[in-house]
Structure formats: structure tokens, C-alpha cells
């Protein structure tokens, strides 16, 4: 088992190869059952569409982008991904609970302030939200599941996310180390 340097009592994580293997099995199960892999950004998108539709329905229908996801009477939240994300939250909460990791806090490098961290989290989220719409996927749904299902799009997403990550890592180093 891989122990971290920190406080052993609250921060023990699984062996990454083991975790990765299990994740692969989950992916296989998902393929076998539903013919698709896991995902994440689509769930947030459904939430956005549902919110826009609830707050300003005519705007949602007129919008070139959001109207694509409005199908008749079915709520835009009634998708596979949204249900999956609910499960993810439950599962993560459960795992956090039995591992004593539940705590409201802002995790940040000691070299920056929590406020800085939160602003960058917001910025990162903003970029990820827009980028995931452009690329039609994020790391879980596009890169991992897409690649495992032999999609070219998945491969491109994977290469471009990690490629640009490594390329520009230097500029963000102050946030992390």
C-alpha cells in the first residue's frame, strides 16, 4: 500500500495500480451494461441546461446551443450522466466518511492563500466547462472512456489535455509546489 507522508490516520489511499485496475473494471462493467463509459462534464451541462430552462424557458429555446438538449417534456436532468454523477457524489462521500476524510476546508499549497486557490479553482472550472463543450468530453468521459472505446476523439482529448498540461505546467508551478 502506498502511504503518504502526511498524517497516516486520515490520509491513507489505495495503491494506485489497484485503484486503476478497479476503475478499468468499472469501465468494462459500464460498457457491458449501458454501452457507454463514465463521464462528468455532461452532468454539469445538463444542470446548466435545466437551470436555464427553469429560469428563462424562452431564452433556452431560442438559444442555439441549449435548445439542442431540450427534448419535449423530459427534464434535461433525466440523463444517464446525471444519475451517474449522483452516484459518484454518494460513493465519494461514503469513501470519505469511512476514511475519516470528511472536512469542510480549502485545500491549497502553503505558498498561496485560500482566496488565491479559490479564484484559480473558479478560473479552472470556467475553462474546463467551456473546453469540455468544445471537445465534447472531459478527462473521464472523453479521454478515459472514449479512448477505451477506441474513439479518435478520445485519443485527441487525452493527448491535448495532458499535452497542454505538461506544456504549461511551468507557469502554474507557484500554485502547487
Amino acid at each position: 500500500m502506498n502511504f503518504l507522508i502526511e498524517d497516516r490516520k486520515t490520509r491513507i489511499y489505495w495503491n494506485p495500480y489497484f485503484g486503476g485496475f478497479l476503475l478499468g473494471l468499472i469501465l468494462l462493467f459500464s460498457f457491458y451494461m449501458s454501452g457507454r463509459g463514465v463521464g462528468a462534464s455532461g452532468g454539469i451541462k445538463s444542470a446548466v441546461v435545466a437551470t436555464v430552462n427553469a429560469v428563462a424557458p424562452t431564452h433556452a429555446e431560442n438559444s442555439a446551443y441549449f435548445s439542442k438538449f431540450l427534448k419535449g417534456d423530459k427534464s434535461p436532468l433525466n440523463t444517464w450522466l446525471v444519475f451517474q454523477m449522483l452516484g459518484v457524489i454518494a460513493g465519494a462521500f461514503f469513501s470519505g466518511a469511512i476514511n475519516n476524510r470528511l472536512k469542510i476546508r480549502v485545500q491549497h499549497s502553503p505558498k498561496i492563500s485560500p482566496k488565491t486557490r479559490l479564484w484559480f479553482a473558479l478560473l479552472g472550472g470556467f475553462l474546463f466547462g467551456g473546453g469540455a463543450q468544445l471537445a465534447r468530453g472531459c478527462t473521464s468521459g472523453g479521454a478515459l472512456s472514449g479512448f477505451a472505446a477506441n474513439s479518435l476523439g478520445g485519443l485527441i482529448i487525452m493527448v491535448s489535455i495532458f499535452g497542454s498540461g505538461y506544456l504549461f505546467a511551468y507557469f502554474f508551478r507557484k500554485l502547487w509546489i
Partner: protein, 221 residues
């Protein structure tokens, strides 16, 4: 790397290697004749002439009629708004792809049911979906829609309503009000004036907007 990891790595590489060396299977998209037989027997593909007439009159954009007879027969008379694809050309791949992308209900018709049904089977075998056959073909079209028979006195309200619908339909499609039925067994000739008076409903354009059609359906990641 400890022994354990080396062992696991070797196992993974071996598994992948085995995959590469395994003989490839050929029958990937094996055709399932039994499923096709089920579909044929169920008869779900048949649409009645009344149903089709109603959809045309209401201007339903989701219907696409294909006349599978020869072009000269098509030129003599065809149901307004239908396209002509002779039976021997119906398996054209790019044509099938275009039809599929139109996301409409594709209805084959011919003089009777036979040729249309053959077209249906061919295209179904070619994995096309959403296709139907006009039951009875143009012969039934003329019998029922163009020259409807008034119901006998013993028939109920339904028959009367149907007759009224059909009379209206026959006028819509260009027949002057009550006409004596004229029907030949194989080819059907119609007086030209009646047909040309009525303007055809707007031509349905099959837009190859593949992109937009696709986007509607996915949830994505």
C-alpha cells in the same frame, strides 16, 4: 520495481500480445435472418393509404414517400411529394445514407404491395431503419382515396366518417368531385388536368445536415 509489479506487468503485456496473435473473427456484423423474419411476419411496416393521405394533407414533414416503379410510370402519376427511386436502384449506398440522415419515415410504394415490399426488404437488409410500405400500393390508393366508395346503409358511423375523409382527400389530391373509378390492373392512368391543377406540396428537401441531426441525440460525456 518489486517482483510483484514485474509479474503484473508481464501478465498485462502477455494478455495484449495474445490479443494481437489471436485469429480474427470474420463474422462481425453477422446478418440475422431470424430477426428479419420476425419483422416480416409482424407486418408492422405496413401503413394504410388512409394514414398516408392524412399525413400528407396535414403537411407532416416527417414522411418521405418513395415511388419504386419505373420513371415513366412515375411521370404519368405519382403521389404528390414523393420521390422516384426505381427498385433496381434502391440499394445505392450514398442514397441510403442520405435517406437515413433525413430522419424521416420512409414509405415505399408501388402499384400493388409487391415491389414496395421488395424494396423494404432490400433496404432493411442494408440496415436502414424507419421504413414502411404503403399497403396495397397505388391500386388501393385509387380505390380508397381518389375514388372512394360510399358506405352502404348498414355500415356504422365509422364508415361514414372514413368516407367523408376520403372524399375530402380525393379533392385535395386533385380529383374533381365524385368520379367514376377507373382502374387498370397494373398501370394506372389519370387525366392530366385533374392532377396538374393542384399545386404539389412544398418539395421536401433532404438536407445533408449530418452535423445538426447527430447532435440532437447524444448526451455526450
Amino acid at each position: 520495481m518489486s517482483k510483484r509489479y514485474i509479474f503484473i506487468s508481464v501478465v498485462f503485456i502477455a494478455l495484449a500480445l495474445v490479443l494481437v496473435l489471436l485469429p480474427k473473427q470474420q463474422n462481425r456484423n453477422a446478418f440475422r435472418p431470424d430477426l428479419l423474419l420476425l419483422e416480416i411476419n409482424s407486418g408492422d411496416r405496413f401503413l394504410s393509404v388512409d394514414h398516408i393521405a392524412e399525413r400528407i394533407i396535414q403537411g407532416d414533414p416527417s414522411i418521405l414517400l418513395i415511388d419504386v416503379r419505373n420513371p415513366d410510370l412515375y411521370d404519368e402519376y405519382h403521389i404528390p411529394g414523393s420521390f422516384n427511386i426505381p427498385l433496381n436502384e434502391v440499394l445505392n449506398d450514398s442514397l441510403n445514407a442520405a435517406l437515413q440522415l433525413a430522419h424521416k419515415d420512409i414509405v415505399f410504394y408501388s402499384n400493388s404491395t409487391l415491389s414496395a415490399d421488395q424494396a423494404w426488404i432490400l433496404c432493411r437488409r442494408n440496415k436502414m431503419e424507419n421504413q414502411y410500405v404503403m399497403e396495397g400500393g397505388l391500386n388501393t390508393w385509387f380505390d380508397h382515396i381518389m375514388t372512394p366508395v360510399p358506405p352502404r346503409e348498414t355500415e356504422g358511423n365509422d364508415a361514414i366518417a372514413l368516407y367523408e375523409f376520403r372524399s375530402g382527400a380525393s379533392i385535395f389530391f386533385g380529383m374533381p368531385a365524385p368520379v367514376v373509378a377507373y382502374k387498370a390492373p397494373e398501370t394506372v392512368k389519370l387525366q392530366n388536368t385533374a392532377v396538374t391543377r393542384k399545386p404539389e406540396p412544398a418539395k421536401q428537401v433532404i438536407e445533408l445536415k449530418k452535423v445538426e441531426e447527430e447532435e440532437e441525440e447524444e448526451e455526450g460525456c
